[in-house]
Amino acid sequence: MYPPRFKYVPARSLEEAVDELANYGYEAKVLAGGQSLIPMMKLRLASPSVLIDISRLESLATISETAQEVRIGAMVTESALERSPVVAGWAPALIDTSRVIADPLVRNLATVGGNAAHGDPANDHPATLAATGASFTLLGPDGSRTVPAGDFFEDIFTTALEPDEIMTEIAVPKQKAGTGSAYIKYERQVGDYAIAGAAAYLKSDDSSTVGDARIYLTNLGPIPVRATDAESLLEGQTVSRRLFKEAGSAAACAAQPWSDMRGSSEYRRRVAAMVTGQALEKAWTRVRKGRHG
């Protein structure tokens, strides 16, 4: 398959990338890892006339940490994320997520920023980033702004990212003592989108009752679906397997699945309940581990 012609604009700096994006406007697309965009172009489902290549901007490909946050450059590849000790130590839910995205070869090129910014409800990072309370730095002609992941996704393929903005960084609060998060996805096969995916974040002050809970679901609605009923059901309760199971059922009610080749909406709801329960259990294990406490 052969993609259509386009004008190639390699950005030598972030400022240049933003300038070029302003310059070309709607005609242009930002080329990051290209693992979603290039397949679309090959199938001629996308034909941008200009591609602004930010893949060589080293400054966007670093992972660093502050006292409170893990800061992940938008161009960090999934495979770099997967192998990052900093992420493993402070935000292990992101590792859960990376490991189930596409396949190992695609993950060598696919970027975290691309996955987050695309607005595809089937992408896995959005639910995890929303659940862990991450925020995105968006750079535009008027400077940069920060948007919480929970507010970023507006509708299917629609996000808070303006056409003249580039996502530059993802900041994830460090998972400190008494907190834990996890992501579980059930897919038919490696490389497929989720039948259902669930990201869970739990906080507990006493290692037996749930303080705060945040649950977001993947591919069960136009954007990551927040399971607020499940969250309220958990908060203040003593943890048990049964509690997590009930929360899973509550989350499944929040899901808005459609029937497709992966199964009926009823089936996908049932899997949503399961993965939510599993994500909660895994997150709770991490709460109790309290490695960084």
Binding site: Y2, P4, R5, R44, R188, M261
Partner: protein, 771 residues
């Protein structure tokens, strides 16, 4: 040391591993035009107009063709004469078959999404793809026919103008008095079972390159049967077959779907002749899903009559196939199904009725197994249903009815597809099944199943027994020649698509002549090298070509001994060939190297040609046992154990045989669990990529255990039975049985494959718990 019977490492591998094999797209001819094909986006409709003006003026585009540019040479295209039922079969069955062949480019109407409508020739593949985007087709939509019910109801009128209905083929096969069998039965069980629409998906898609600038018009095609294509081209162009050369280069997998003559295989040569330039077309994966043949898609309504003790008394089966837009295959696959339906079991009476209907889908034809998985699935399913209804262990019910070695040869009481009486030629079907039970340790897994139940674990065991008629005719030839450099060349017609023919035939030659494997060169798949041949299909190469090579090698050996006898001044009977030297028995110092026997000064080149006609097929057979665990929520299937005991006679290269079996199992597992071509109501293919048509990945495949019986065939000098398709036949049936057993609820019957997790989860929820 004899090489035959040993796992010699393949002679093909080094080139592949260094990236130096040459598949179709790797052949470069200067001045080649690249073709992109515009395909119908509509399942059924009239072509009101096609506007090619913008495409024709696009950068790099040389010319655009539609049906009207081809005129009468647009077809319909001939298929191999091998495909319709031979007279010998027609005499014995009721049969009606209507050939319904394709045109090169849609002639005024389209019949499936993906049908070629226009061809764009350009100086590069990129330019051709750009040009294809600029061809504007105006369709007048008609009601699409997307299932057999609509086809029978003649939705939108007959699909083929001038025909009263959409029936493409029908036959009836009778054995014994089936009505009497059912009348005296103690039990009759029945069910309806469906095998999904699937396809072979070789990782190399199809491709064609034609060069009209050569002295002999040459066509390369990624094809399993170059001689059939050559004959079709000769008919199409009105040429003598000798004036066309067809070459199958290195082929990246075929699995049956590269064995028919496709519109593109005549279109590309046709365009090459019209333009006077070499033309190349390489299929995209999307096109492969849309326009290469589909397979399976049978629905069986089957009834089994049993005596009180579980003996099978009779079988009635009516099955339909969704043939798609063309009746490409005629009776090949459906009759294979009929011929293999009784399989390994004693069934005294049978009535088999088949009907095949046209629809607005890609044409249906052969894919590895070619009718056999479709037969084994309903039969093994109905046996499982019977076992439950009679309260007999499913393995015991099979044991009671399996044909044993004492009964061989066993006359199945019907005809094979070639018209000969279907005679099961040896082996012991019961013994192989018993061995599989032992190897799988079914007793242990039954205990494990009981232990797991209270914990909510869903474990199950499933069985499949099958036969496979292999090594069908016609005659294949082999030429063995002593080359001037003292090496030996073997020339055969059939190309390889990964089966390791060069190694396997090389082993036979090396042993036959007494030369090292390294000094044997196998040439294949080129009509210029050997003008007659059929195709690499139907698990026939080892049987038919292998036998021809073995005879030719033996003949060449005698010639070499004669020649050497003259040089050494001894009697040929006193000579032997070892390690590439001819020496006097008992006096090895008196010897000549083979190269001396090839000296042109002492005589004409030494060459031997032999043909082998198998007469009739020889049957391979086997038993598959699957042990699975089903996830109670997701319906996900984990295969805990997969055991195959198989008998394909003498093994020429056990490593290659096991590779064939395991590779076939992978395709069978895909067929069982994940692969399905799904059309929507409008006739659009919803699964036209690997994202949606999910073939197994490394994380989806178990490591099957494969064991062999080696009952020699008496129908060929090598004692071999074919093995190419065996692995694909058992898994859908064995896995369906295992999954149904794991769910273990009364009233839950698996009636289809594939069985994706969502389907299985639905079954877990239905039915009532067994007591």
């Amino acid at each position: 040391m004899k090489l035959t019977g040993t796992s010699v490492r393949r002679v093909e591998d080094r080139a592949i591993l260094c990236g130096s094999t040459r598949y179709l797209d790797d052949i470069r001819i200067p001045g080649t035009l690249h073709c992109a094909i515009v395909r119908s986006q509509l399942a059924r409709g009239r072509l009101a107009s096609i506007d090619v003006s913008e495409a024709a003026s696009a950068a790099g585009v040389v010319r655009v063709f539609t049906a009207s540019d081809l005129g009468p040479s647009n077809g319909p295209i001939p298929q191999p004469t091998w495909f319709p039922a031979p007279e010998g079969l027609r005499k014995h069955i009721e049969v009606m078959t209507r050939p319904e062949y394709a045109h090169l480019l849609a002639p005024g109407r389209v019949r499936y999404v993906g049908e070629p409508v226009a061809a764009v020739l350009a100086t590069s593949p990129y330019a051709a793809a750009d040009g294809a985007r600029e061809v504007y087709v105006d369709y007048e939509p008609q009601d699409p026919v997307v299932n057999i019910e609509q086809s029978r109801a003649l939705r939108g009128g007959p699909l083929n103008d001038g025909r009263p209905d959409n029936l493409a083929a029908r036959f009836v096969v009778r054995k014994g008095d089936v009505d009497f069998a059912f009348a005296r039965a103690d039990h009759v069980v029945s069910g309806t079972f469906r095998t999904g629409r699937q396809t072979g998906t070789p990782i190399e898609p199809r491709g064609v390159l034609a060069d009209p600038t050569r002295p002999v018009f040459t066509v390369w095609s990624s094809n399993q049967a170059p001689h059939w294509l050559r004959d079709a081209l000769a008919t199409y162009f009105g040429l003598d077959p000798a004036d066309i050369r067809v070459v199958a280069p290195d082929v990246g997998g075929g699995f049956g779907i590269k064995s028919m003559v496709y519109p593109e295989e005549l279109l590309i040569p046709g365009l090459a002749r019209l333009t006077g330039a070499p033309v190349k077309w390489v299929e995209t994966r999307t096109e492969n899903f849309l326009a290469a043949v589909h397979a399976r898609d049978q629905r069986h309504s089957i009834e089994l009559a049993l005596a009180g003790d579980g003996r099978f008394l009779g079988l009635r089966d009516t099955f339909t196939t969704d043939a798609g837009a063309s009746n490409l295959e005629s009776l090949v696959v459906p009759y294979n199904t009929a011929a293999h339906l009784q399989g390994t079991y004693r069934i005294p009476a049978a009535l088999i009725v088949h009907e095949s209907y046209l629809t607005n889908k890609a044409p249906l034809s052969a894919y590895r197994g070619a009718g056999r998985p479709e037969a084994v699935f309903p039969v093994e399913r109905i046996i499982d249903v019977a076992a439950r209804e009679l309260g007999i262990d499913p393995a015991a019910l099979r044991q009671k009815n399996l044909i044993t070695g004492d009964e061989m040869p066993y006359q199945a009481g019907i005809r094979y597809r070639d018209g000969t009486p279907l005679s099961l030629d040896g082996g012991d079907y019961r013994a192989v099944f018993d061995e599989a039970l032992r190897r799988a340790d079914v007793k242990y897994w039954r205990e494990e199943q009981s232990r797991g139940r209270p914990e909510g674990r869903l474990l199950g065991i499933g069985y499949a027994n099958y036969i496979e008629g292999t090594g069908i005719g016609p005659t294949e030839k082999a030429i063995a020649a002593l080359e001037p450099d003292g090496t030996v060349s073997i020339t055969v017609a059939l190309p390889s698509q990964g089966q390791g023919h060069a190694t396997m035939l090389g082993q036979l030659t090396a042993d036959g002549l007494g030369v090292p494997l390294e000094s044997v060169q196998v040439r294949q798949g080129d009509t210029a090298l050997l003008p007659t041949g059929a195709g690499t299909i139907a698990s026939r190469t080892a049987v038919v070509v292998g036998s021809a090579v073995s005879v030719a090698s033996a003949e060449l050996r005698l010639q070499v001994l004669d020649r050497a006898a003259g040089l050494l001044e001894v009697d040929p009977d006193d000579l032997t060939i070892r390690d590439g030297r001819v020496s006097v028995i008992g006096a090895p110092a008196r010897s000549v190297p083979l190269v001396d026997c090839a000296d042109p000064d002492i005589g004409p080149p030494l060459t031997a040609t032999a043909g082998f006609d198998p007469g009739r097929v020889t049957f391979a057979y086997g038993a598959h046992i699957a042990v699975v665990e089903v996830h109670p929520v997701t319906g996900h299937v984990s295969i805990l154990k997969y055991v195959v005991v198989h008998d394909c006679g003498k093994l020429i290269n056990p490593m290659i045989v096991d590779g064939q079996v395991v590779g076939g199992i992978a395709q069978g597992i895909g067929a069982a669990l994940s692969e399905e071509l799904l059309y929507d109501e409008s006739g659009q293919l919803a699964t036209a990529s690997f994202l949606d048509y999910q073939i197994p990945r490394s994380t989806d495949m178990p490591s099957p255990e494969v064991y062999h019986f080696e009952t020699p065939s008496e129908l060929n000098p090598l004692g071999v039975r074919g093995v190419g398709e065996a692995g694909t036949i058992g898994p859908p049936a064995a896995l369906a049985g295992a999954i149904e057993d794991a769910i273990g609820k009364a009233g839950v019957i698996i009636d289809r494959c594939p069985m994706p997790p969502s389907y299985i989860a639905g079954l877990i929820d239905s039915g009532v718990a067994d007591t």
